[in-house]
């Protein structure tokens, strides 16, 4: 029979009378867990931010017509040359349209798919921004702005004005922030644009778009799909790109392959487009975990040391406890409960300290041109990390306490008492 009251009261007395070692051991755990929480919150916060920065700008599947040479040149179709060594010099890309054939039915089809969260049409066109006699080359993207807001983080990137303003203004444009700066334009001003064919159109600036990536902000602007179609003089089914957002990111690859076959069109999925990026975040995650596990193991060794010392000091007490009727298991439980008390107290304090450090980091100003929506360092308050933290604290203190306490269990009282 285990008498927990007695065991815990002995454990408590030991801990309280050896306050210094208790505090040291607990602080070891506290700092280990605190550092782990801080580090993991901060690192994953950064990782998330970087992921969002790139990934949210990329649709899960992007469909467009690729300008490329035909895979099979006419000569290879001609039977008489079959088996011969045919060589074709200066192959040119296939004559084809930029627009997606049957774009509207494809869009309808996609929107009916269960796994698709949404599909948005886009019309990308090369244009010039006119500023006096200066022409700046760039793109104008025609979008269904409210669908974009629903499916991507475009709203975060509109630093002035609003998506609603674009929807409500037929001749509106969301001007790239780099362009706005170059041409000294602001919301409410007008900007003249010229198509490649030479037609000039005035558009009203209803917002400024800043993605954080300078190469985009210096060339790209957004307008309503219909406006761009009108500027280019194209009908309503003229669509060059379809962006698809899925419910499940993992399905992007297979679905892209399927769409390519089904519609004879180029479809790239998010993983293809961001392969190196994925590698980067994986490596950052590995580093985060390697550092945190090291911290926790160091904390574990601290506990192991202090408990070993404590047991060495208490050798006589252990012997006398055994002589007065405590079993080896009772003695082990006494030291195990000390370890676990240290683990729980240290772990909980560690979580609290980790949380406060995260709060502090969260409030450090971090302003950068590249990230318009971010004003302080990003921190991830995922409760999962706190659970991992406390669980690891308990496991490591359990192991660190188990080994010395097992030694205490095996101590032979006769040998200690007789001093041999």
């Amino acid at each position: 029979m285990t008498n927990w009251n007695v065991i815990l009261s002995i454990a408590r007395t030991h801990l309280l009378t050896k306050m210094k070692s208790t505090v040291t051991a607990s602080l070891g755990v506290t700092f280990g867990i605190g550092a782990y929480i801080t580090l993991v919150s901060f690192m994953t916060g950064l990782n998330h931010m970087l992921d969002d920065l790139v990934l949210n700008q990329t649709p899960h599947i992007h469909m467009y017509n690729e300008i490329e040479p035909s895979a099979a040149q006419p000569v290879s179709l001609y039977e008489k040359f079959d088996g011969g060594l045919n060589k074709v010099h200066s192959i040119k890309p296939k004559q084809s349209q930029l627009k997606i054939h049957n774009a509207l039915p494809i869009l309808h089809y996609l929107k009916d798919q269960k796994s698709v969260k949404g599909a948005t049409p886009q019309l990308r066109s090369q244009i010039f921004y006119l500023s006096g006699s200066i022409e700046l080359g760039g793109n104008l993207v025609g979008v269904d702005i409210m669908e974009e807001v629903r499916l991507s983080n475009i709203q975060d990137n509109i630093v002035e004005g609003s998506p609603e303003a674009l929807r409500n203004t037929e001749n509106g444009i969301l001007l790239g922030s780099g362009l706005a700066k170059k041409m000294s334009l602001n919301v409410g001003n007008r900007v003249q644009i010229s198509t490649i064919k030479g037609t000039v159109f005035p558009l009203k600036i209803v917002g400024i778009y800043q993605s954080g990536i300078a190469e985009i902000d210096n060339v790209q602007s957004f307008a309503n799909l219909k406006t761009v179609q009108r500027i280019l003089g194209e009908p309503e089914n003229y669509i060059t790109d379809i962006n698809i957002k899925l419910y499940d990111l993992a399905k992007a690859g297979p679905m892209a392959r399927l769409l390519e076959k089904q519609f004879k069109i180029k479809a790239t999925d998010i993983n293809e487009a961001n392969a190196q990026f994925e590698t980067g975040s994986n490596i950052r995650n590995i580093i985060t975990y390697a550092v945190s596990i090291t911290l926790l193991i160091v904390a574990g060794f601290g506990i192991y040391n202090i408990l070993s010392m404590l047991i060495y000091e208490k050798m006589k007490d252990i012997a006398i406890l055994k002589a007065t009727g405590f079993s080896g298991k009772d003695v082990q439980l006494i030291f195990m409960s000390q370890a676990m008390i240290i683990g729980v107290a240290g772990g909980v304090f560690g979580l609290i300290i980790g949380f406060f450090l995260s709060r502090i980091i969260d409030n450090i100003p971090f302003e950068t041109e590249a990230l318009p929506t971010i004003s302080t360092f990003p921190v991830n308050y995922n409760p999962g990390y706190y659970v991992i933290g406390i669980v690891f604290a308990l496991i490591s203190t359990f192991i660190a306490g188990y080994l010395p306490s097992n030694k205490a269990r095996k101590i032979d009282p006769v040998r200690i008492i007789r001093g041999t």
């Binding site: 029979m1 008498n3 009251n5 007695v6 009261s9 002995i10 007395t13 030991h14 009378t17 006589k316 007490d317 012997a319 006398i320 406890l321 055994k322 002589a323 007065t324 009727g325 405590f326 079993s327 080896g328 298991k329 009772d330 009282p413 006769v414 008492i417 007789r418």
Partner: protein, 224 residues
């Protein structure tokens, strides 16, 4: 008269550093209410025998009976139970837990046994302390009292579960003559007033002479 403790042909070898036959065919009995002492020179095996009798040492051949029940071969867990219920032990050194108060030290074995409520244990512990004239020390830390007082606390602790037999390994060995006499008087009173059986290992001939029976040991054998 009932037998409290009985050994039959107990043999023990020390395996390290060389094989050494410490106890040779030890057979004797301690009767209920008897005050026996074991005497002998250093190395005669008397302490070794006592630790076997206390059930703490289990590496021996032969049979040990407590209250006419065979103890030999029982698992460690059961032995701790038997030890706390039936045997009180007083060592040469007091071995009190220095961080605990005197009262807590005395109460500990009873708390472990858990057959009484906290209040009963506290009451019993105070009673034992008062009986040994150290009731006024109850709240003091065990590390803050004198040597003679510590040994009396250790006796109170050995008595808390009302054992059948009290064993002592040179309980007066570390005490001055005044305190040694005091401890002897306590033992005698326990035997006379409470009918407790006592088995004490000692070097002190004066002490041994005044007990009911002297068991003399030499070279691992009982002489008389």
């Amino acid at each position: 008269m009932a037998t409290v403790l009985e050994t039959k042909n107990i043999n023990k070898h020390f395996k390290k550093p060389v094989n050494f036959h410490v106890l040779k065919d030890i057979s004797f009995k301690v009767k209920d209410g008897e005050f026996a002492s074991i005497m002998g020179k250093s190395g005669s095996g008397k302490s070794t025998l006592l630790y076997i009798l206390s059930t703490m040492d289990t590496e021996y051949e032969g049979e040990l009976f407590l209250n006419e029940e065979l103890i030999t071969g029982k698992p460690h867990k059961e032995l701790s139970q038997i030890r706390s219920r039936h045997i009180g032990f007083v060592f040469q050194f007091h071995y009190l837990l220095s961080e605990f108060s005197v009262l807590e030290n005395v109460m500990l074995p009873a708390k472990k046994l858990g057959s009484k409520t906290y209040e009963e244990i506290e009451h019993d512990a105070m009673e034992k302390l008062n009986m040994l004239n150290i009731g006024q020390l109850a709240k003091k830390r065990a590390s803050r009292i004198s040597g003679g007082e510590k040994q009396r606390v250790a006796i109170a602790r050995a008595l808390i579960n009302n054992p059948d037999i009290l064993m002592g390994d040179e309980p007066t060995g570390n005490l001055d003559s005044y305190n040694a006499e005091n401890v002897f008087q306590i033992f005698k009173r326990l035997k006379e007033e409470e009918g407790l059986s006592l088995l004490v290992v000692t070097h002190d001939l004066d002490f041994a002479k005044r007990t009911d029976r002297i068991i003399e040991m030499e070279d691992g054998k009982i002489l008389s």
